[in-house]
């Protein structure tokens, strides 16, 4: 490694970029106290009574985005992260806040170590055939 500091051959990819800043949105939190780790395909659904999240001063614009995005169409954690262009860890914390505020709820996918119902798997197969 050279001593220059800028010309080092990095172990990470060039695209890594500056990456701590997003956690400013979570006020430095990397986990959410009441939330166990949300699966990437857990689905976030906005509560019907969450009418005007923008009026809530405690919410960041990103919180409001999530509430609005999931209002008409529930979305998975992975989709929200891609849509908002935020790291998954950040999105998890934001969702955790919203669950705590009871503005959204999260439907959990099939629990780990359990396979879904055979009938669901049959539906998946016929769904794939019909594509």
């Amino acid at each position: 490694m050279s001593g220059d500091g800028q010309e080092l051959s990095h172990w990470f990819d060039d695209e890594a970029g500056p990456v701590v800043r997003p956690y400013a949105m979570t006020r430095g939190r990397t986990t959410s106290p009441n939330q166990h780790r949300l699966d990437l395909i857990a689905v976030v659904v906005t509560e019907e009574y969450a009418s005007d999240p923008e009026a809530d001063n405690s919410l960041s614009p990103e919180h409001v985005d999530i509430v609005e995005l999931c209002r008409d169409a529930p979305q998975s954690v992975a989709e929200l992260a891609a849509e908002l262009d935020l790291p998954i860890g950040v999105v998890r914390v934001l969702i955790g806040d919203l669950v705590e505020d009871e503005l959204v709820h999260v439907t959990r996918p099939v629990p780990p170590a359990e396979l879904p119902d055979e009938s669901i798997l049959r539906d998946v197969i016929s769904g794939l055939r019909a594509l």
Binding site: M1, G5, L8, H10, W11, F12, D13, E15, A16, G17, V19, V20, P22, Y23, T30, R37, D39, L40, I41, A42, V43, V45, E48, R71, D72, A73, P74, Q75, S76, A78, E79, A81, A82, E83, P87, I88, G89, V90, T107, P109, V110, P111, P112, L115, P116, E118, I120, L121, R122, D123, V124, I125, G127, L128, R129, L131
Partner: protein, 201 residues
Amino acid sequence: MIFGRTERGKAPVEPVTLKILVAGGFGVGKTTLVGAVSEIKPLRTEELLTEAGRPVDDTSGVEGKHTTTVAMDFGRITLREDLVLYLFGTPGQDRFWFLWDELATGALGAVVLADTRRLEDCFAAVDYFERRSIPFVVGVNCFEGASRYPAEDVRQALDLDSAVPVVLCDARGRESVKEVLIEVVQHAMAYAAERRHTVTG
């Protein structure tokens, strides 16, 4: 919008979501496969890696850099309004194994995509799924110009259990990829039935 817009006041459908992983070496066609069947252009999510997250990397000389990102591409297939299948391409680099654990949790099964010109690139993925008892199918991506081997030769070369399906496929072809995914689900069903049988004696 994602799962079909619903009328105001009517509760949106909360779908059951499932995931299948797509693993294999770098450049073997994982994102191509996802894109061939996904109803959306494959999306990219990123996860930040922190100090605690990368125990094996030697970071001497880059101490100023405490985090980096790793990308995962994924696609979506809405099978029914209330049934959605996600496909996740696993990060290609071996140093991101720990991210696989999270992806693999609750996964229905996996496709290990193999290229016969460099079969060794998928050894790690095969090992991974075998050890964690995650049902998987080996898809041999038939690149143009690559000499084709019978599926049995690939099975032998990978030392696969006889129950593991090996299918020849074209990661760019929608029909071909559909067949691979159906194979994964069927294998997962058989695998689950087998396990139930073992448990109940």
